[in-house]
Symmetry: C2
Subunit: 139 residues, 2 copies
């Protein structure tokens, strides 16, 4: 298979609350919740970099679509890293996430690889790392 991820879907307990966190709190643009006309189809999309989207979907709808049971979300199952250009930007994004209602799980600090990073959880417990990594600056 080709090395490609087109869409990252995060399962959420409350779709409207999750949209509020990402749109109003973190400032990501979205058309809001679409697909309400389809059973289990209500979803919100956010465009990330070209070719990659972020979707918020009720966990029960994802579970229904995949034919899998709803089981508790683990905050250590995966992590989405948001890399930035400077240490100051790490601090600023973490402050924005906390202000938006996210939980800071690890304040920004020096990393073992020579960068500077911290972690926050979104309202559903999904884990984000905000990182300045001099070896992996955003384009």
């Amino acid at each position: 298979m080709k090395p490609r991820v087109s869409l990252i879907t995060l399962a959420v307990a409350d779709l409207e609350a999750a949209v509020a966190f990402y749109r109003d709190g973190l400032g990501l643009e979205t058309e809001g919740i679409v697909g309400k006309e389809f059973e289990h189809g209500a979803v919100a999309f956010f465009e990330l970099q070209p070719g990659l989207g972020l979707a918020l979907w009720a966990q029960e709808d994802l579970a229904h679509d995949a034919g899998l049971p709803v089981t508790p979300i683990s905050s250590t199952a995966f992590c989405l890293a948001h890399n930035v250009m400077s240490r100051e930007e790490v601090d600023a994004v973490l402050a924005q996430a906390e202000q938006a209602g996210g939980r800071i799980v690890k304040a920004a600090d020096e990393t073992f690889y020579g960068g500077y990073a911290g972690y926050f959880q979104d309202p559903d417990g999904h884990l984000w790392e905000v990182a300045w990594n001099p070896e992996r600056l955003p384009e």
Copy 2:
């Protein structure tokens, strides 16, 4: 914050087995496990599209780094979608995933949005959707 995900980290129980699945089974390129010289630092990176990487990291190491407990991975917490150009490619990628040791959780079928998609789980239970979506073809 800017709309950007730089790295998707999947937490795994057995790093070598996970690398074998993604590298040997799915055919994604990697330099293999690096960072063994750092405590909790052993990781494997795969380059996806420009500006986006996939990392495999032992769940206990991610949990240690974030300061969070290891809790069971939910297969309905999130989903990574791999979009392809045709229905035939959906079938081919799902067959490859199954051959590699993944579990087909939903055979490819017509979707409510007019596409064609199926789901598989990797050996740790992480959920992937393989989709042909005429509204969202890969670039």
